[in-house]
Point group: C2
Chain length 155, copies 2
């Protein structure tokens, strides 16, 4: 007795979707001098105009080391400033400059246009459900990470 044909694992579908949609998005952003991580970092900063790096990393879902990398480049490019929080000198507070604000405005047009095209023909309700289910997957993966700490046996 044989079960129903195996469906594609959801992790693979997710990964493939982000690879492919991400390529298209990067192409759209590069036409205004931007990139995916840059756009999402700017977006996080607009939502929270004076944020610590830890907060930004959590918002965009990348590791601190990766964020440092991007912030260093963006600061060198004059898009933002980093200064220590006088109240807690471990924390680095990040703020957009006028130049960063302008970059945000430029990318926003490209991003909105891309988002509209990406959702073409898909009801808002479906997108909302998608967002909810993705959130649940993220919650589960956070649990997995916590319970898997240090179980690696290789290398």
């Amino acid at each position: 007795m044989q079960g129903p044909p195996e469906k594609r694992p959801i992790g693979m579908v997710l990964w493939k979707t982000v690879n492919e949609t991400g390529r298209a998005f990067d192409l759209a952003l590069s036409s205004v001098g931007g990139s995916r991580p840059m756009w999402f970092i700017l977006l996080a900063l607009k939502a929270d105009p004076v944020a610590s790096q830890r907060e930004i990393a959590a918002t965009v879902g990348i590791q601190g080391a990766t964020l440092t990398h991007h912030l260093t480049a963006m600061e060198a490019d004059g898009l933002l400033t980093r200064r220590r929080d006088p109240a807690n000198r471990r924390v680095h507070l990040v703020e957009l400059t006028d130049r960063g604000e302008a970059a945000f405005q430029r990318m926003r047009d490209a991003a909105l246009d891309y988002d509209r095209k990406l959702r073409q023909g898909i009801p808002d309700e479906d997108i909302d459900r998608l967002r909810d289910t993705l959130d649940r997957l993220r919650e589960n993966s956070a649990s997995i990470m916590k319970s898997t700490r240090g179980h690696g046996t290789h290398t």
Copy 2:
């Protein structure tokens, strides 16, 4: 007059979800000596035991250059063989070796376990809907890529 509060752009939620779930998955696979791209390539080869590189790349959603990179490493590791198709010598046919088969079996346990934990508490119906909506997003992004060919104005 002000519209409803902006929802998080679906592209950002997607990207964040794949970053975070992918980290957990990589951790699970590394404990049996595997990695995400390796696993998905093996999976594609199991579904289509003698495939061209072009087919594999399309199945897993990466570019040909990226696939070349992984296949070179996996071939050096004895997991697969590459040989030219006598009927069309441009094509390289890829096949799993016994060693590759064994690697697949090892990773499968880790992958199934991860998949089960990831879906914990989420109805199958929701996962099916997720898969469908992701497919529609991929279709749309394919259309965007076609119509955007060469519209880049920067650099």
